[in-house]
Amino acid sequence: MTTSIVVDNVSKTFRYQSHVTLKKVLQNRMGGKRSDESFKALDGVSFEVQQGESIGLMGLNGSGKSTLLKLVSGVMRPDEGQVLTRGRISGLIATGAGFHNELSGRENIYMNAAMLGMSKEETDAKFDDIAAFADVGRFMDTAVGNYSSGMFARLGFSVAVHVDCDIFIADEVLAVGDRPFKRKCLKRMKEIRESGITMFYVSHSAGSVKKMCDRAIVLDKGKVGFDGDVDGAIKYLHYDGDDEEPDTEESSEDERDDALANDI
C-alpha cells in the first residue's frame, strides 16, 4: 500500500480585500487604518490518504473544501505546511476550464487533455472514447462557443474522466447534466474507483458520499472536524436528521441513480 496524498499541517490565509485601489490605500493611511485583514481558509489541516482510497470531503459552505482541493490539485500553494501527492492528478474541478470558445470540440479536447498532462499519442488513442462519452455528435467540429451548456459540460467531463490518472478529484460533479448523463457519470466514477485510483470526492449529498466513499473528512471552519467512516461524518454534520426534507429526498434520488448505474 502506498501513500497517495499527504497533507501535513496545512494553512492557507486569504485577505478579505485582495484588490485595493490607490484611493483606498491613501484613505486608510490617512485614517491610520490597516487594510490587511485576513482570514484562515484552512488552519492546520493534516491527513494522509492511501492509494485506492476514496475520500468524501464534506463540510458546510465556506468550510474550506474548495481551497483544500486547489491545494491538492496543485493550483495553489499552502502558506504553511506541505501538500505532497504521488502520480498524475486529474479531476473535475476544472471541467471546461481552458476551453476556447472559437475552437472546435475536437481541438478543445486535445488542448484540455494536454493541460491535464496527456501526450498526443495518449489523446489519439482515447479520442473515440472521449467523443463517445461526450456524445455531442455532429457538433464535434463546431466551435464550442455554439454549444449548449450541457454539451459544454459533457465535453469537459469526458476529457477529465478519460485521463489515465492516479488521483481523481471531483468537486460537485453532478451539478450539471441531465439524468442519463448523471447515470453515465456515476458509472464511470465507479469504474475509476474500482481501478484503484485515489478518489477525492466533494459533495453535500450524504447519500452519494455514502455510496461512493469509504472514508469521509469533514472540514469545519478550516479545520478537520471529523476524519473517519462515512456514517460518522454524516452524524457529525447532522445530515442524517429527519428534519432536513430536501436532503433525504436527494439521497433517495441518488440511490436510484446509483441503482440505475449498477444496472447498466
Partner: protein, 324 residues
C-alpha cells in the same frame, strides 16, 4: 482505463497502483515546477497553446491569415508617407522605405510580445485558477505567437529587398553571412528581452492591474527610440542632441536590434554608402561603431534580465491564483 483501448483481450484490469508502479513514483508537491525550463519540457502543450492563439486570433474572419500581412503593410505605408514623403526624413538615406520597414519588423515583434505577455496571465485566468501547470507557459506562448506574426513581415521585407535590388539603382540584394547573422542576433535580442519583460510584467499586472496601461503608454514610445523613422546620424552627429545622450540612446536594446536587422536587410541594398549628407556629400555613419560587440554584450545582459524575470515570476506567481 487501458492505453490499448479496444484490443481483443479487453482493458487492463490491474489496479492503477500496479500498472503505474506507484511504489517507485516519488511523493512530490503537486505545484512544483522548474520555471521556464519546465515550459520547454512540455513542448506539446506549448505548441497547442501557441496554435490555439494563432487560430483563435482570426477565427471567423473572411481574410484570415491575410490580416497578418495587411496590418503591417498599411502601417508601413502610413509611416512611409508621413516620415519619408511628407517630412523628408529619408533625406540622406538610400532606400529609406527598407530602412524603415526592417526596423518596424523587430519593433512590432517586441512591442507585441511585451503587451501580449503583460496581459497573458489575466487573459487566461479561467485556466490558471483551476488547473495546475507551469504558469510561465502563458507569457512564453504569447511571445511565440508574436514571433509567428513576425514571419509574414519578414517575407514582405525580403520581397521588398529583392525588388529594390532588381529595379533600384543600387546593387542587387544578396544576403551576406554577416548581415544575416546580425539580423538573427537582432531577433534573438528582442526574443530574450521580450520574454524577460513579459514574465515580469505578467505577474505585476495581476497584482496591480493598472500596470498594463502603464506598459501600453511606454510601449507607444518605443518605435521612436530606435533609428528607423529617422537616420542614425541624426543622433550621432551631435547637432540635434547633445553628444552625451548618444551613449544612452545606443544602450537601448531595441535601437541596437533595429540597427542589427538593418545591417542584414537594408545595408546590402545600398552598400557601401547608405547615408550621405545631402548638403556636403560627406559619408555619414549608418550604424553605431561597435555594432556586433554591443549586440553580444546586450545579449548577455538580456540573459541576466531573463534570469531575473524568472526569479521575479516565481516569487510572485504563488499568489497569482488567489488574486485572479
Amino acid at each position: 482505463m487501458s492505453l490499448s483501448g479496444t484490443d481483443a483481450t479487453g482493458p487492463d484490469t490491474r489496479p492503477v497502483e500496479v500498472r503505474h508502479d506507484l511504489a517507485h513514483v516519488p511523493l512530490t508537491a503537486p505545484s512544483r515546477t522548474s520555471g521556464v525550463l519546465e515550459v520547454f519540457r512540455k513542448r506539446y502543450l506549448l505548441r497547442l497553446m501557441v496554435r490555439r492563439e494563432i487560430k483563435a486570433r482570426y477565427a471567423g474572419t473572411a481574410f484570415g491569415l491575410a490580416w497578418s500581412y495587411i496590418n503591417p503593410f498599411t502601417r508601413f505605408l502610413t509611416f512611409y508617407a508621413v516620415f519619408g514623403l511628407l517630412l523628408g526624413r529619408g533625406s540622406g538615406l538610400e532606400n529609406f522605405a527598407i530602412h524603415l520597414f526592417a526596423g518596424m519588423v523587430l519593433v512590432n515583434y517586441f512591442t507585441e510580445s511585451v503587451t501580449a505577455g503583460t496581459r497573458s496571465l489575466l487573459a487566461n485566468k479561467g485556466v490558471i485558477g483551476k488547473m495546475a501547470m507551469p504558469r510561465e507557459m502563458f507569457p512564453v506562448a504569447s511571445m511565440l505567437v508574436s514571433l509567428w506574426h513576425a514571419i509574414p513581415q519578414v517575407i514582405i521585407l525580403v520581397l521588398a529587398c529583392l525588388a529594390t535590388g532588381w529595379w533600384g539603382d543600387g546593387p542587387l540584394w544578396v544576403p551576406d553571412a554577416v548581415g544575416m547573422g546580425a539580423a538573427l542576433l537582432g531577433f534573438v535580442l528582442m526574443m530574450v528581452y521580450g520574454t524577460a519583460l513579459g514574465l515580469m510584467f505578467s505577474c505585476v499586472n495581476v497584482i496591480f492591474r493598472d500596470f498594463q496601461r502603464i506598459v501600453q503608454t511606454f510601449i507607444n514610445m518605443v518605435p521612436f527610440t530606435a533609428p528607423m523613422m529617422y537616420p542614425y546620424f541624426f543622433i550621432a552627429d551631435g547637432t540635434r542632441i547633445p553628444e552625451q545622450y548618444h551613449d544612452l540612446y545606443v544602450a537601448n536594446p531595441v535601437a541596437e536590434a533595429v540597427m542589427l536587422i538593418q545591417r542584414g536587410f537594408w545595408y546590402p541594398t545600398c552598400a557601401p554608402n547608405c547615408a550621405v549628407d545631402p548638403a556636403t556629400g560627406l559619408e555619414l555613419p549608418e550604424f553605431v561603431g561597435d555594432l556586433y560587440s554591443r549586440g553580444f554584450i546586450m545579449l548577455g545582459i538580456g540573459l541576466v534580465l531573463l534570469a531575473l524575470g524568472q526569479f521575479v515570476f516565481s516569487r510572485l506567481e504563488k499568489t497569482v491564483p488567489e488574486r485572479l
